[in-house]
Symmetry: C2
Subunit: 241 residues, 2 copies
DNA sequence: ACCTGAACACCGTTCAAGT
DNA sequence: ACCTGAACACCGTTCAAGT
């Protein structure tokens, strides 16, 4: 509140410099808004992304943001698309489809590890980011010889698995930013399980829950998928071996 | 607004009858609140579940609800647990683990088809419903001979897949309540894909998207899983065949 | 065309006051 | 113990008014 006047003077300085350095212009744009949203989502809590927080950070009015973005949902989708797009673009082109599928899956997992809010977002409404993922996975499946509805089924299965894991993991990761917190969280969750259902079998499951490693378990799941797809494909099309 | 007075008089009638018929008592309880929440979520839009809507339906005050439920998140978790608990309890005990896993997966899929809001909820924070699902799946995997960390990995993979599919499907299903709407939605989404990325390969994917059947594709994914788990298990423990 | 910021129509949650 | 309902501290979104 007390910074209001100060932020105005900062803006005036920026306006002054922008005359000499147009690259540092403070002109509002969709990209700048999305960028600011990502910063807030990464730095603060997911609930801290409000239009009021955005207007403060961008030192502008609410209406100005609506001039570039239709609503909050579109803004969240754009932020998600930006993060996923960046991550998928970085994947090295690999000639071996199975290795490429592992790399794609893992890069999405890591992106959600770094930006937990993306995990929740990816299983919401039409997401442009999901098309990117479908294309990346689909191309590798094609190279693997999986086509037509089999490709659609396999792609759907893998993508649902990746997004499902991501969302599950992100739900916990949001409240445990580091490794120690994560372990404490899993321990508490395991205790909750055994308390809620005092059954020896649940006890065993709780032990596994406590001791598992997220990343390794995620990769184990990808392997189950690849094995399943390969086995089903080789059943139809015998390998040249 | 104008019904305010009327709802009060209705309540007074209920109070009068409750003296003679205690089973129809209007006493507030956690169960009654959860039940009312499920009704609103099923009947109206997800965003229509507000504490004001609840107080109107239960003809009470906001504070009364907070006396039985900690907050909105807990209410949503309880509603989700109620739906999933009901569905899992109905599954016939099947001696063949693979058939049982198919039944469990499908019943969760169908529950989310009937209550799309459950799909979004299941990939949020600690959900008691998720323990139920883990236990149901874990027991079948054990019967299949999968134990220890292999059981944990396989269970995690299957559950992530089921919840991921459910969330993806529910995201679309929320805005297309019937089959005709669903087809129109898929057609629009496919058109969006081809428009956003004019690539022959994306065109093929869009065709598959338009023509696929949700339920069949979901089951195809479960099959890929079962094949993968079986193949990996038989690799380690040769079948007695 | 782009931006401002007050105003609108909501939320979830709290809490003094009642029974 | 259980309930009431006004009040609080927020939201996303709109829109007349400015440049």
């Amino acid at each position: 509140m007390m910074l209001e006047r100060h932020s105005i003077s900062v803006k005036m300085v920026l306006m002054a410099t922008s005359n000499r350095n147009p690259r540092r212009s403070d002109a509002l744009s969709r990209d700048r808004i999305v960028e600011a949203a990502i910063e807030i989502l990464d730095t603060e809590d997911e609930s801290d992304l409000t239009f009021r927080a955005l207007t403060t950070r961008l030192s502008t009015g609410a209406g100005a943001i609506y001039h570039h973005v239709a609503n909050k949902n579109e803004l969240l989708a754009a932020a998600t698309d930006e993060v996923i797009g960046r991550v998928l673009a970085e994947i090295a082109v690999d000639t071996e489809p199975r290795r490429a599928i592992r790399a794609i899956s893992l890069s999405i997992f890591d992106a959600i590890d770094a930006h937990p809010w993306v995990g929740a977002q990816l299983s919401h409404d039409p997401q442009p980011a999901v098309l990117r993922i479908w294309k990346a996975v689909g191309l590798q499946l094609r190279d693997l010889g999986v086509t037509g509805s089999a490709q659609s089924d396999a792609g759907s299965a893998l993508i649902s698995y990746v997004l499902g894991s991501a969302a599950q993991y992100a739900a916990g990761a949001r409240r445990s930013p580091n490794d120690t917190d994560r372990k404490a969280y899993l321990k508490a969750l395991a205790a909750q399980w055994t308390q809620r259902d005092p059954d020896p079998f649940v006890d065993e499951m709780a032990t596994q829950l406590r001791e598992h490693n997220d990343r390794e378990q995620f990769l184990a799941g990808v392997e189950i998928f690849l094995t399943g797809i390969t086995a089903q494909t080789s059943w139809l099309v015998p390998r040249s071996q």
